[in-house]
C-alpha cells in the first residue's frame, strides 16, 4: 500500500531530468506514489463489484423490457394522452442531459482558472459527464414513441430545420464529441504511465486488454516538453470551447419549449433558466459521484472534505441563481394576469401541482442554502445530503416545468367545462413503464462508471503530479 499523503512524487522518486515535462518516462523513474491508488479499480475486484454490476444491469434490462412494452402497446401505457402530450420522458431528457454538464463545465472552469485543488476531482467529474450524456440522449427514443423513425434525425433529406428537436440533436451530439475529447486528452499521459506499470506487474487477460488500450491512447507519450506543450495547448483549447458549447446546448434544449406558443412554455427566460438548472444539478451529481468513489475505493487521502465544501459553495451559487430565476418567472407570469399564464402559475403554487413544486423549493432551494450557511453542517455528509436532495428535487422541478403547461386546456369554451371544448385540465398518471425506464437510466450511470473505472485510472496521476508542488507550497 502506498503512502496516502497527497504529496509530490518528485519528492520521493528520482528527480526528472527534463524541465517542464509532465511525467518523464525513463527507465530509472519510479511510479508516482498515487499510481497504485489510481489503478486500484483497474487491478482489484472488490467483493461488492460483481453484485453491484449484476443488480444495476438487472435494473437496466428491466428498463429495456418496459420500453419494449411501450413500443408494443403505444405511448398510452406510459400515461400519455392528447391532454398530457409531454410528460416524464421530456423531463428525463432535460434532467439527464442537464446533470451531464456539471462535470465537464466544472472541470473546464477549474482548469482555466488554474485551481490547484482540482486535481483529484477532474477524472471523476469528466467521466460522470461522459457517461451521463449518452444516457440522457437515449430518452429521445422513448419520448419519440416510434423509435424506427429516429434515423430521420440523422438523415439529411428528412431534416426539418425549423424544428428545435433537430437542433437539440445537433447540439447534444456536438457536445458529446467535445466531452469525449475532453475526457480523452488528459488521459494520454496517465495511459502511458499505467501501461508501463501494468507491463511490470500484471499478466492477466484483462491486464493485457488494458495494456492494449493504454498503448492505443498513450503509446506515443514520452513526456518531453514539446509533448507537454502540445497536449496542454489542446486541453486548454477544448476547455475554452466546452463552456460556451455547454451553455448553447442547454439553451437549444430549452427552445423546444420556449419556441412554442403554449402558456408556460413560451418563456424568454427559459434558455438561462435551463442552463443554470443544468449546472446546479450537474455539480450536485459530481458531488455524489465523488462521495461514492471516495467511499468505494477508499480515496479519502485525495478527495478531502475541503473539496466537498468548495463544490458545495459552487452548488450554492447556482442554487441561489436558480431560485431567483424561478421567482422571476412565476412573478412575471402570475402578475401579468393573462388567462393562460395565471392558470398554470396558480396550479403550481396552490393547485394540483403544489406538492412537487414546494418539494423542489424546500429540497433544492432552502435546504442547500441552510446546509452551507451553517458551519456545523458544512461537512462531507451535509454537502452530500444536500447534493442528493438537489438531484432528486431538480428532476421533480423538470416535471413541474413540463407537465402543467402540457395539461393546461388552452381552448376555453364559453359554455364552460361541460362543453366539448371545455376547460378541463388533463391529467398525467405515472405508470410502471416510465418509472422503470427512468430507474434504468439512473442505474445506467453508476453501472457505466463502474465499467469505465475498470479500464481507466480513477485519479489523474499526471495532473496530481503537476499540482502537488504548488499545493505543498500553500500548506
Amino acid at each position: 500500500m502506498t503512502d496516502h499523503t497527497y504529496h509530490s512524487a518528485s519528492s520521493v522518486s528520482e528527480p526528472r531530468s527534463t524541465p517542464g515535462a509532465l511525467v518523464t518516462l525513463t527507465e530509472s523513474s519510479a511510479m508516482p506514489p498515487y499510481m497504485q491508488e489510481a489503478m486500484r479499480p483497474v487491478l482489484e475486484t472488490p467483493r461488492w463489484w460483481w453484485p453491484s454490476v449484476a443488480v444495476l444491469s438487472a435494473i437496466v434490462i428491466a428498463g429495456i423490457g418496459a420500453w419494449a412494452v411501450q413500443v408494443t402497446d403505444g405511448l398510452g401505457v406510459s400515461g400519455y394522452s392528447d391532454k398530457a402530450f409531454w410528460a416524464v420522458y421530456e423531463a428525463d431528457l432535460v434532467a439527464f442531459i442537464g446533470v451531464s454538464y456539471g462535470g465537464a463545465v466544472v472541470s473546464a472552469i477549474l482548469r482555466l482558472t488554474n485551481a490547484t485543488w482540482r486535481a483529484p476531482l477532474t477524472r471523476i467529474a469528466e467521466a460522470t459527464a461522459l457517461v451521463t450524456l449518452p444516457v440522457g440522449m437515449l430518452f429521445i427514443i422513448p419520448h419519440l414513441g416510434s423509435p424506427w423513425r429516429i434515423w430521420e434525425l440523422v438523415w439529411p433529406p428528412y431534416w426539418n430545420l425549423s424544428s428545435p428537436i433537430l437542433w437539440d440533436f445537433f447540439a447534444v451530439s456536438t457536445y458529446l464529441l467535445a466531452t469525449a475529447v475532453f475526457f480523452y486528452l488528459p488521459l494520454i499521459p496517465d495511459a502511458a504511465l499505467a501501461r508501463r506499470w501494468l507491463g511490470e506487474h500484471e499478466t492477466s487477460i484483462r491486464a493485457r486488454v488494458c495494456r492494449q488500450l493504454y498503448t492505443l491512447i498513450g503509446g506515443r507519450w514520452r513526456g518531453t516538453p514539446e509533448q507537454s506543450k502540445l497536449l496542454n495547448g489542446a486541453i486548454g483549447l477544448v476547455a475554452i470551447m466546452i463552456i460556451p458549447m455547454a451553455v448553447s446546448v442547454h439553451s437549444v434544449l430549452s427552445f423546444a419549449f420556449a419556441s412554442s406558443s403554449r402558456p408556460g412554455y413560451l418563456e424568454t427566460i427559459f434558455p438561462v433558466y435551463f442552463v443554470v438548472a443544468a449546472l446546479y444539478s450537474g455539480v450536485a451529481l459530481v458531488v455524489i459521484a465523488l462521495a461514492a468513489c471516495r467511499r468505494l475505493w477508499k480515496l479519502d487521502a485525495f478527495i478531502e472534505p475541503r473539496h466537498f465544501v468548495r463544490l458545495g459553495f459552487v452548488m450554492l451559487a447556482f442554487g441561489a441563481a436558480y431560485l431567483y430565476l424561478t421567482f422571476t418567472e412565476y412573478l412575471v407570469d402570475g402578475y401579468s394576469g393573462t388567462v393562460g399564464n395565471a392558470a398554470w402559475v396558480h396550479q403550481i403554487l396552490v393547485g394540483r401541482y403544489w406538492i412537487p413544486f414546494w418539494f423542489y423549493f424546500v429540497a433544492a432551494g432552502v435546504f442547500p442554502i441552510a446546509i452551507m450557511a451553517i458551519r456545523a453542517t458544512r461537512t462531507v455528509a451535509g454537502v452530500v445530503t444536500a447534493a442528493a436532495l438537489v438531484v432528486v428535487a431538480m428532476w421533480v422541478k423538470r416535471l413541474v416545468i413540463v407537465i402543467p403547461p402540457a395539461t393546461e386546456p388552452i381552448v376555453r369554451s364559453p359554455l364552460g367545462s361541460a362543453g366539448l371544448l371545455g376547460g378541463n385540465w388533463g391529467t398525467y398518471h405515472f405508470t410502471w413503464e416510465p418509472v422503470t425506464i427512468t430507474l434504468a437510466a439512473t442505474a445506467a450511470i453508476p453501472l457505466l462508471l463502474l465499467i469505465v473505472f475498470r479500464f481507466v485510472p480513477i485519479l489523474p496521476v499526471a495532473e496530481m503530479e503537476e499540482l502537488a508542488m504548488p499545493e505543498e507550497g500553500l500548506r
Binding site: 512524487a9 518528485s10 526528472r16 524541465p19 517542464g20 515535462a21 509532465l22 511525467v23 518523464t24 392528447d82 482548469r111 482558472t113 488554474n114 433529406p157 431534416w159 426539418n160 430545420l161 425549423s162 437542433w167 445537433f170 447540439a171 456536438t174 464529441l177 467535445a178 475529447v181 480523452y184 486528452l185 494520454i188 506515443r220 507519450w221 514520452r222 516538453p225 514539446e226 509533448q227 506543450k229 502540445l230 497536449l231 496542454n232 495547448g233 489542446a234 486548454g236 483549447l237 476547455a239 475554452i240 470551447m241 412554442s260 406558443s261 412554455y265 388552452i410 381552448v411 376555453r412 364559453p414 359554455l415 362543453g419 366539448l420 371544448l421 495532473e463 503537476e466 499540482l467 507550497g473
Partner: protein, 186 residues
C-alpha cells in the same frame, strides 16, 4: 527545485516566497501564448468554409424541398383566436344554425370541424396566424432565416472539424516528437 511534472503554461515553478508573488500565467493565458487561438481560428475557419460550401450545395439541389415554403413554414390558417373559437363553438352547439359546415350534426361534419379546430388550437405551434411580410423573412424558410440556419449549420460543422482536428493534431504531434526523441537517444 525540480520542475518535473509541470503541466500547462507553467514551465518554471517558483521556489522562493518572492517568486510566489510573481504572477504566473494561467492556463488560459498560456493557451493564448501557445497560439492555440490561431489554431482554433484555423479550425473554425476551415469548418465554416466547409459548412458554407456544403450549405450552398444543399441549397442548389432541387431535391432539398424541405426548405421550400409550404412544407416547413405552414402556419395555422385562419388564426385560431379565442374569439373565433368561441364563435365556432357557439355556432356548433346552436340548434338554430343553418351553417352546414359548422353544424353540430354528425352527418354534416360539424364535429369533425370542431375537433380540427380544437386540435389546431391545442397544437404547441398554434397561434402564429399570418405574419407580416418583414417577419416572414425571419422564419426558417424566409431569406434571413435561411441565412441564419446556414450559418448555424456551418458552426456545427466547424465545431466537429475543430474537435476532430485537435485530436488528430495531438496524435500527429506526439508521433513526431516521440520519433524525434527516439532518434536523439539512439
Amino acid at each position: 527545485m525540480s520542475t518535473a511534472g509541470a503541466i500547462g503554461p507553467r514551465t518554471v515553478t517558483p521556489s522562493t516566497a518572492a517568486d510566489r508573488h510573481t504572477p504566473r500565467p494561467t492556463a488560459l493565458r498560456g493557451a493564448i501564448h501557445r497560439m492555440t487561438y490561431r489554431r482554433l481560428a484555423l479550425c473554425l475557419l476551415t469548418g465554416l468554409v466547409t459548412g458554407v460550401v456544403s450549405w450552398g450545395i444543399v441549397l442548389g439541389i432541387p431535391a432539398s424541398a424541405s426548405l421550400t415554403v409550404g412544407r416547413v413554414g405552414t402556419y395555422p390558417s385562419p388564426p385560431a383566436t379565442a374569439a373565433r373559437l368561441a364563435l365556432v363553438t357557439a355556432r356548433a352547439n346552436s340548434p338554430y344554425t343553418e351553417d352546414t359546415e359548422h353544424s353540430s350534426s354528425p352527418e354534416a361534419g360539424g364535429s369533425a370541424s370542431l375537433l380540427a379546430a380544437q386540435v389546431q388550437s391545442a397544437s404547441p405551434s398554434a397561434g402564429y396566424g399570418r405574419l407580416p411580410e418583414g417577419a416572414e423573412a425571419t422564419r426558417p424558410d424566409g431569406i434571413i432565416g435561411r441565412f441564419v440556419v446556414g450559418v448555424l449549420l456551418a458552426v456545427v460543422v466547424a465545431l466537429w472539424i475543430a474537435l476532430v482536428s485537435i485530436v488528430v493534431r495531438v496524435h500527429l504531434g506526439l508521433r513526431s516528437t516521440s520519433e524525434g526523441s527516439q532518434e536523439a537517444s539512439s
